[in-house]
């Protein structure tokens, strides 16, 4: 019984462990072979799987759009060009809906964020054991294929957005205007410390909520896939219970995957929309 619990826990842990590169306890640099080793590496370590997958997916998205853009015709669009135009129109419309300022950077940024996050999230729909099994056959101990279940990735993107928000806040309102916005609202100049506290929390909450929302949703989704997959691991010979568990694993993971199509798209859309909204706030005098 205890060993079964142990293997279940091990299975979950294995699936939630990133492939980390950093300084090993013996002082050399290399890949961590256990969660403890990875933890001991501290801050200066790199999640190779997140890194590789996100770069790869970003590159795929860019290459697809680039090839379409290069071969674009002005007549009747066919196949992929039609799809790209369709998505572009959709994103352009939602940017126009929520962004009132004038900035040529916001549209392309929204497009990039949407498709990058979408493709990263879509990796969640692959059966969770495929890639880790393939990788362990190749001698790689861990491999998480969904970069958006790694808070490093989501926080990275959110910090990127936050830097843009700060940059445009200062650019549009001037340093004085931006500082004024942080300290002179909502209680006037005599409530300056309280204002700073409130507005500061408001400001800091933007990137944190942006990152944690995506991470939380994708991580929870991944977790449920793992837990469903564990039901199949409870196979204990030909019995009614085992067969039921086995069958329900298939059905549940199918249902969850179908439901996840929605979540995956929705989260990408929310990340994009919130980015646009935050940038819109940065461009406006009052909010």
């Amino acid at each position: 019984m205890s060993s079964e619990v142990h293997t279940s826990a091990g299975y979950i842990k294995h699936h939630l462990q990133n492939l980390t590169y950093g300084q090993l306890p013996d002082g050399t640099w290399g890949i961590a072979h256990s969660a403890e080793e990875a933890k001991a590496m501290g801050f200066w370590a790199l999640n190779l799987d997140t890194f590789i997958m996100s770069l790869l997916l970003g590159a795929v998205v860019m290459l697809v759009f680039r090839s379409v853009a290069k071969s674009a015709v002005s007549g009747i669009p066919g196949g992929l060009q039609n799809f790209c135009e369709w998505s572009l129109e959709f994103i352009d419309n939602s940017v126009r809906g929520s962004f009132s300022g004038k900035n040529d950077m916001v549209g392309p940024l929204a497009l990039t964020i949407f498709f990058w996050v979408l493709t990263m999230n879509l990796m969640d729909l692959l059966p969770i054991d495929y890639v880790p099994l393939l990788m362990s056959a190749l001698g790689v101990p861990f491999f998480k294929i969904v970069p958006s279940t790694d808070p490093n990735a989501t926080f990275g993107m959110a910090i990127g957005v936050f830097v843009l928000v700060l940059y445009y806040s200062v650019k549009m309102k001037g340093l004085g205007g931006f500082v004024g916005e942080l300290t002179l609202q909502p209680f006037g100049k005599w409530g300056m410390p309280v204002n700073l506290l409130l507005e500061g929390v408001n400001l800091i909450a933007k990137p944190i909520s942006l990152a944690l929302r995506l991470f939380g949703n994708m991580y929870a989704g991944e977790m449920i896939f793992i837990l469903i997959a564990l039901m199949g691991g409870a196979w204990a010979g030909l019995s009614v219970g085992s067969a039921t568990l086995y069958g329900s694993q298939i059905l549940l993971s199918l249902g969850w995957a179908i439901f996840h199509i929605l979540i995956v798209t929705l989260q990408a859309f929310i990340f994009m929309t919130l980015t646009v909204v935050y940038l819109d706030m940065a461009h406006q005098e009052h909010h």
């Binding site: 299975y11 007549g75 099994l133 694993q249």
Partner: protein, 156 residues
């Protein structure tokens, strides 16, 4: 980590998932894309047709303009012809009128001459009578010689 029946379950599930997507997720997306494509194609075809129609209309308006010019030329020629005809007719009419007026003039003059002659004749007879009475030294009885006088007047 060892390979077990979980993998099989996941493969079955993945196959079902792919089937589901092919059956229920893919077609609506494809339909939307197809509709978009059709809309664009229709729009382009409409634009093409409108362009063609415009060309036809331009051609047709040029044709009408040319016809109108031709007609106008014809009308001008006709008008000129009619103009000269009217002038000719007026000339002829004027000639007739002229002749008539001249003839009337001649008639008047003749009449006047005749009247003057008549008057002259009367006066001449009176003078002749007076002359004769002086020559004879006595009053000619006008009554007695009336037939003679009449003969004289008629002679003059």
């Amino acid at each position: 980590m060892n390979i077990n029946a979980t993998l099989l379950a996941q493969t079955i599930m993945f196959a079902l998932f792919v089937w589901f997507c092919m059956k229920f997720v893919w077609p609506p997306i494809m339909a939307a894309l197809e509709q978009r494509k059709k809309q664009i194609a229709d729009g382009l075809a409409d634009a093409e047709r409108a362009k063609h129609d415009l060309e036809l209309a331009a051609k047709r308006s040029a044709e009408i303009l040319r016809e109108a010019k031709e007609k106008a030329g014809e009308i001008i020629v006709n008008a000129e012809k009619r103009d000269s005809e009217i002038i000719e007719a007026a000339k002829a009419k004027a000639k007739v009128e002229y002749d008539r007026i001249v003839a009337t003039g001649h008639a008047d003059v003749d009449q006047e001459v005749f009247r003057a002659k008549e008057q002259l004749r009367t006066q001449v007879s009176a003078i002749a009578l007076a002359g004769a009475s002086k020559i004879l030294g006595r009053e000619i009885d006008a009554k007695a010689h009336n037939d003679l006088l009449d003969k004289l007047v008629a002679e003059i």
